[in-house]
């Protein structure tokens, strides 16, 4: 199988979508730049022209609204936000408009827009270049939210998002851009709302999103050397999310750890934990555990960053405590 990086897989999905469908176009800040999007959009403007690969003014609101309008008109736009923090200036077109449209008009109008938001943190960037806001958007009915963690899913989920018919927020993480993985060359789809079991196990279930799914697999490998077999579920989609796969695993292991690289309070990990308490309580043999970011803005200075972000070490430590309880 061919190996690609996560960023290359995103680029390949864009290239194949642009080549295969005249309705697809790309709009957003930095799409002509070699560094806003890493290599994930490299030279697409040269390949497909600047009428279809459009670098935009710093106008998140109007640019996102324009993508929503173009989708309503029958196009398949992908609007790119190189930093999710800045996308907050576009909450109106995303939350008030795109998400509401199908319901408000009883299905008469669809909004097949993809809103790509990159989580781009670390490197002493500080509070406004770091946020992971998936829970805010997963809260909103009418939006779908996907968070690929592997190159395979990065490609397949982008293609699914473009053809879903609904507004889909596609959240990628710059910390994953150099991850390597098998990626088939032809176009393929990864179903939205379906989790992937990355590693089977019998002692506890680790449900993780995006970057934390990769960390969870690393943690599980270490746990295995201590005789703890963790089942790792990569959610891949947080709205809708694959409840059945998660509950089935809890019924097998009796223990749940949720790892999400975002704030704890009101975060997506809380949703998974609450749902487990509602629907799989009888199977739980220990309280649900969470590995999340502390409830504080992202710090800048490197020692503070190291204290703030969570890694495989934190997941492994939490898993050991949970397995022993």
């Amino acid at each position: 199988m061919r190996r690609l990086s996560y960023a290359q897989a995103i680029r390949e999905a864009h290239a194949q979508l642009l080549a295969g469908d005249p309705r697809v176009f790309l709009l957003g800040q930095g799409v002509w730049s070699p560094w806003y999007a890493g290599t994930s959009l490299k030279d697409l403007d040269k390949e497909f022209g600047r009428d279809r690969v459009i670098d935009s003014p710093v106008s998140e609101n109007a640019v996102t609204g324009a993508a929503v309008g173009a989708a309503i008109a029958g196009m398949r736009p992908i609007v790119f936000h190189p930093r999710m923090d800045f996308m907050l200036l576009a909450v109106d077109p995303i939350v008030n408009q795109a998400a509401n449209w199908a319901y408000l008009f009883a299905g008469a109008v669809a909004v097949p827009v993809v809103i790509r938001a990159a989580i781009n943190r670390g490197g002493e960037q500080g509070a406004q270049h770091s946020q992971a806001l998936q829970a805010m958007f997963a809260h909103v009915p009418g939006l779908k939210v996907v968070m690929p963690s592997t190159p395979y899913d990065a490609k397949g989920l982008l293609i699914s998002a473009v053809y879903d018919g609904n507004p889909v927020m596609y959240i990628d993480d710059r910390w994953l851009y150099e991850e390597q993985g098998d990626v088939p060359e032809p176009m393929y789809r990864v179903p939205i709302g379906r989790a992937a079991v990355r590693r089977p196990g019998r002692d506890l279930t680790i449900v993780a999103t995006s970057f934390m799914a990769v960390q969870a697999v690393r943690a599980a490998d270490r746990l295995a050397s201590d005789g703890i077999e963790a089942e790792v579920i990569d959610l891949r989609s947080v709205k809708p999310w694959d409840r059945e796969t998660v509950f089935a695993s809890i019924r097998k292991t009796g223990r749940l750890l949720v790892a999400d690289a975002a704030w704890r309070t009101g975060g997506f990990a809380a949703e998974v934990a609450a749902s487990a308490a509602e629907e799989a309580f009888e199977a739980l043999r220990a309280p649900v555990a969470r590995v999340c970011l502390p409830d504080a803005p992202a710090p800048m200075s490197a020692p503070l960053e190291r204290a703030y972000y969570r890694t495989a070490d934190d997941i492994a430590a939490a898993a050991r405590r949970l397995a022993a309880s």
Partner: protein
């Protein structure tokens, strides 16, 4: 000043309009007026409960602009969009049923007065979040540019919406990409209860057009032909790939911000202004012009009777229609349609 200039798009008329065209404009305006007056009565009677922002007094703008458009052109509106919906060709009965929250409404009882839709005539959604549809109009215009389909997009917005960032960002994008979009500012001088000059330093909406290198003009928004001619020229420019235009149409809404009351909610100052505006009634003005041109009284009264009957039939249709089934509550949160078709 920059090196660009504001150019008036209001030029000499292509030719004197025919009486038949003018009569059609009058009838379209009266149809909106009669719908709105009846809706106002039904709100007062408690039969219609959804908040209704009535368009009475502003009819010449919707009709003048939409007469300059094609069926497939896109029209976007806001909270006060009954007139836009009707002028573009939306089904009158379906809108009345929507005000009643019925399953036969244009939005199937999910929208009400503030969320109207008629995709078959280019109305892809009017929503009350002020200025929100301006970027969407830029988006449909961008789609038209990408496809080369020759369609024009129209953003109807009020003077209040020009104070939102949406408006300025959208003007810049439309100008930058030379998009086929018309920004129709319906300046009725009040955003809810606040006068224009309580919200900005000067009466200078048009200056925003200049600032974004968008040609613009100020019009008498109560003169349907002035609006029509300017909109027709702006639409022709847009279709020719020459980019956006802003038209500030000055007008006055006769009723309160929301509901049928004559100003109870906005105080004395506005009541005094209303006295000056009532004689400039766009519907009565055109009727007088038509009468001067020789249209017989019988033609007016026949049209009035037809329209009254149409509105009354819509009320009966709405009353008789079923409410949405609560079993459909969660339908359409997502569309089941894949986007490939």
């Amino acid at each position: 000043m920059g090196d660009h200039v504001t150019t008036s798009v209001v030029g000499p008329a292509a030719g004197a309009p025919t009486t038949a065209f003018l009569f059609g404009c009058w009838r379209d305006m009266l149809r909106i007026r009669m719908f709105e007056e009846r809706a106002g009565e039904l709100v007062e009677a408690g039969e219609i409960k959804t908040p209704c922002h009535l368009y009475i007094g502003q009819e010449a703008i919707a009709v003048g602009v939409c007469r300059a458009l094609r069926r497939e052109d896109y029209v976007w509106g806001g909270h006060r969009s009954h007139g836009h919906y009707l002028a573009k060709g939306g089904d009158l009965r379906a809108m009345m049923a929507e005000l009643y929250g019925k399953a036969t409404g244009c939005s199937r009882g999910r929208g009400g007065s503030m969320h109207l839709v008629a995709p078959e005539v280019g109305v892809y959604g009017t929503v009350p979040l002020v200025a929100a549809t301006i970027p969407l109009a830029v988006g449909t215009a961008l789609a038209s540019r990408q496809r080369g389909d020759g369609r024009v997009s129209v953003a109807f917005l009020g003077d209040g919406a020009t104070e939102e960032g949406h408006f300025h960002e959208s003007m810049n994008l439309a100008a930058l990409y030379r998009l086929p979009v018309l920004f129709i500012v319906e300046n009725n001088f009040y955003a809810s209860h606040m006068h224009l000059l309580e919200r900005r330093r000067a009466d200078n909406i048009l200056a925003a057009a200049d600032a974004h290198s968008v040609p613009g003009a100020v019009l008498d928004g109560n003169d349907v032909m002035a609006v029509y001619e300017a909109a027709a020229r702006a639409a022709a420019r847009a279709r020719a790939g020459e980019g956006p235009t802003l038209l500030e149409c000055r007008t006055f809404r006769w009723r309160g911000h929301v509901g049928p009351s004559w100003d109870m909610d906005v105080g004395v100052k506005r009541k005094d202004e209303l006295k000056d505006w009532l004689p400039r009634d766009p519907v009565a003005r055109l009727r007088a012009r038509l009468a001067e041109a020789g249209v017989e009284e019988a033609a007016f009264t026949a049209a009035e009777a037809e329209l009254r009957a149409e509105v009354e039939a819509a009320v009966e249709f709405a009353r008789r229609s079923p409410y949405p089934d609560p079993a459909t509550l969660l339908d359409h949160v997502y569309t089941a349609r894949e986007a490939e078709g």
